[in-house]
């Protein structure tokens, strides 16, 4: 057992209102530069839909993630030799138009127009070529199913072999905010010919070394979530950094900080590095979820603590792991699921599947429906979060429903239901964390620079800032 620390995120999809504040604050912080116009390290998709970039979930097309070949874990995009041959032309590489052609508008015409009979119009202009262009697609063209038919081309629906109706009385949708998953078994890292992408030992953040990157772009198709982007101007790969300068100072990522629905939870988990490969190699993709839960270790277990200390994890980090909200949600209560576990990258951004809208059967005068009667088809959620295992989705949704039942009865003074999976007060804690938790409860990060105790930080006051305060970095 070799224990490592990882900063993990949970998103409670029940509370996502699809406002894109996360995307916008992220964009303003990280990608408002030339060459990065089209990049959204964080984006919010409406599901069902083909997403950003188009059809990112179709791994027949992109060959992203890992596969089991004769029981061995290998990159789906091919062996090292196969990929060296793709250096000069890579057939699975996405193009700019797969994301969208970024544009601005000629705002000046509104201000400087001569007097005319008709009101001046700000026409769109390409941010790449600076020529006039027609807008054909955008980073969120399918917002609230607004593109209509493209929702039908959602790859998950093809895998379910089901068509959906776009008739109003049966239609369903949900939001899916996505950023880099900072996977335990990242395919992008394995695919990088230059060794420029790495996973940080201290917090598990996956970063691209901008000096080492040579622009071979093998990480881009290899990431099954399409969360590495190619800067066409600097000709290097870029990705979500998990706002590491903020993490290092005990602050959450900017998307978490600014989330209007307060759907994001951020905290430390401890995992067993030696068990990662075996979990990623689980034969049945529907069992990968439970394998990952086994890789995540109990931060109160003395053996785990001893091993963590042996690998240099500080007391501040161990304390954070003990009070981690994400550990509770993921492992103790089993409320969150990984996005597309079948890609075998073991993502560390987890999702609480949505119940809403729960009132499908309002005409039956049922306040809380059975988990099988949800408006969003369970089979669809299963394609997203459990490699098609509907049982896992039923169980997870049932826990959320149980929590609502307990809280409703408590509110109404009715007798508590019997034979629940957890203790009654567990559901109350669950309710508190999922429903009304404050910023400080949702986000538990070790204060101060990594591994540097709070007292030492005080000594650094007045030093140059987080570039290298006091020489601790």
């Amino acid at each position: 057992m070799k224990i490592m620390a990882q900063v993990a995120m949970v998103m409670n999809l029940d509370k996502c209102i699809g406002c894109h504040t996360c995307s916008i604050t992220c964009k303003n912080t990280w990608t408002n530069r030339e060459g990065a116009e089209y990049m959204y390290f964080n984006n919010v998709e409406t599901k069902p839909g083909i997403g950003y970039p188009k059809q990112w979930e179709n791994q027949e097309k992109w060959k992203g993630g890992w596969q089991l070949k004769d029981g061995d874990l290998s990159l789906r995009t091919g062996s090292k030799l196969d990929r060296i041959l793709k250096l000069f032309y890579h057939p699975e590489q996405p193009e700019l138009e797969d994301y969208y052609h970024p544009w601005t508008y000629d705002y000046e015409t509104l201000i400087h127009s001569e007097r005319k009979n008709h009101q001046p119009v700000a026409r769109p202009r390409s941010l790449i070529t600076h020529k006039r262009m027609d807008i054909k697609w955008g980073p969120n063209w399918e917002d609230d199913l607004s593109n209509g038919e493209s929702a039908r081309n959602d790859y998950n629906l093809q895998k379910m072999a089901q068509d959906i109706t776009l008739e109003f009385h049966d239609i369903f949708m949900k939001y899916l905010p996505r950023n880099c998953n900072h996977c335990l078994n990242p395919a992008c890292v394995a695919a990088c010919p230059s060794g420029a992408i790495y996973k940080r030992e201290e917090d598990g953040v996956v970063l691209v070394n901008q000096d080492g990157c040579r622009g071979w772009r093998h990480c881009i198709p290899a990431c099954p979530y399409k969360k590495i982007y190619y800067n066409w101007k600097s000709n290097k790969a870029e990705k979500c950094t998990f706002c590491y300068p903020r993490l290092e100072n005990g602050l959450p990522t900017i998307c978490t900080d600014t989330c209007v629905g307060r759907i994001r939870y951020l905290g430390v988990i401890l995992y067993d590095l030696d068990a990662v490969k075996a979990a990623a190699s689980t034969t049945d993709p529907q069992q990968i979820y439970s394998s990952v839960l086994d890789v995540i270790k109990d931060p109160t277990d003395p053996a785990v603590i001893e091993s963590a200390k042996a690998s240099g994890i500080s007391d501040a980090w161990l304390r954070s792991a003990e009070i981690s909200p994400v550990y509770k949600i993921i492992k103790t209560w089993k409320l969150a699921l990984p996005l597309h576990p079948e890609y075998r990258t073991l993502p560390m951004v987890w999702y609480i599947p949505p119940l809403s809208p729960i009132a499908k059967k309002i005409e039956d005068r049922v306040y809380l429906p059975d988990s099988k009667e949800m408006r969003i088809p369970v089979a669809y959620l299963a394609e997203l979060f459990s490699a098609g295992n509907t049982q896992i989705i039923y169980q997870t949704l049932q826990r959320l429903l149980d929590m609502r039942t307990v809280m409703r009865r408590k509110e109404l003074g009715e007798p508590m239901p019997q034979n629940m999976e957890y203790e009654i007060n567990t559901y109350e804690k669950m309710y508190r964390l999922l429903g009304i938790a404050k910023y400080s409860e949702r986000i538990k990060l070790p204060a101060g620079l990594q591994g540097v105790e709070h007292d030492k930080l005080r000594e650094l006051q007045g030093s140059v800032g987080y570039s290298c305060p006091g020489g601790y970095c």
Partner: protein, 220 residues
Amino acid sequence: MNEFLYGVLPYVAFTVLIGGTIIRYAQGERGWTTKSSEFLSKDDLKLAGPMFHLGLFMAFGGHIIGILIPKFVTEAAGVNENMYHFIALAGGIPAGVLFTLGFIMLMIRRFSNDKMKVNTSQIDKLLYLILGLTILTGFAGTLSGMFNHFDYREHISPWFRSLLMLSPEISYMEDIPIFFRLHMLLWCLTAILFPFSRLVHCLSFPFEYFCRSNIVYRRK
């Protein structure tokens, strides 16, 4: 004039090539990249990219054989002049066709596409001019071998090896056909441009990739 062209310029080129590359690596690794444009325009790269690079590898191999290996070595190996000539043309013409055609296709792609034009810097344009002329004169030299027989292995190869031995024998280079003269000048210019252009990616072929583990962990 010959003294400058064949005794001084090559050393200037070597010095800039090696020194400039080291300085660029140390100072500007952040700008060291393949400068791939597949992201901006993919379909028209499918044939042209691999053709150009395959032609380049073949031409590079041919230069190693033709220039670095002395004539007496190949003759001792039982390859007489006619055989050598045949082999050189049999390899050189396909290489030249791939290299030249690939280059022309890449240039059409680069200068006919709005997105590509935006991504073409001044140093790129200069490089394409010099590199294009180098390729054309080299290919012309190869083709001229079919008609009039100039044995570069009696002239250029020993001169180049004498350069490497740091005692340039300029006498070898008198009465060289014009294509070869131009080719000599142009490769020197290409070498001078090398450290300051996207050409540096030649040195980044990822050999170390075969030797490393899949997942890379690093401390902060």
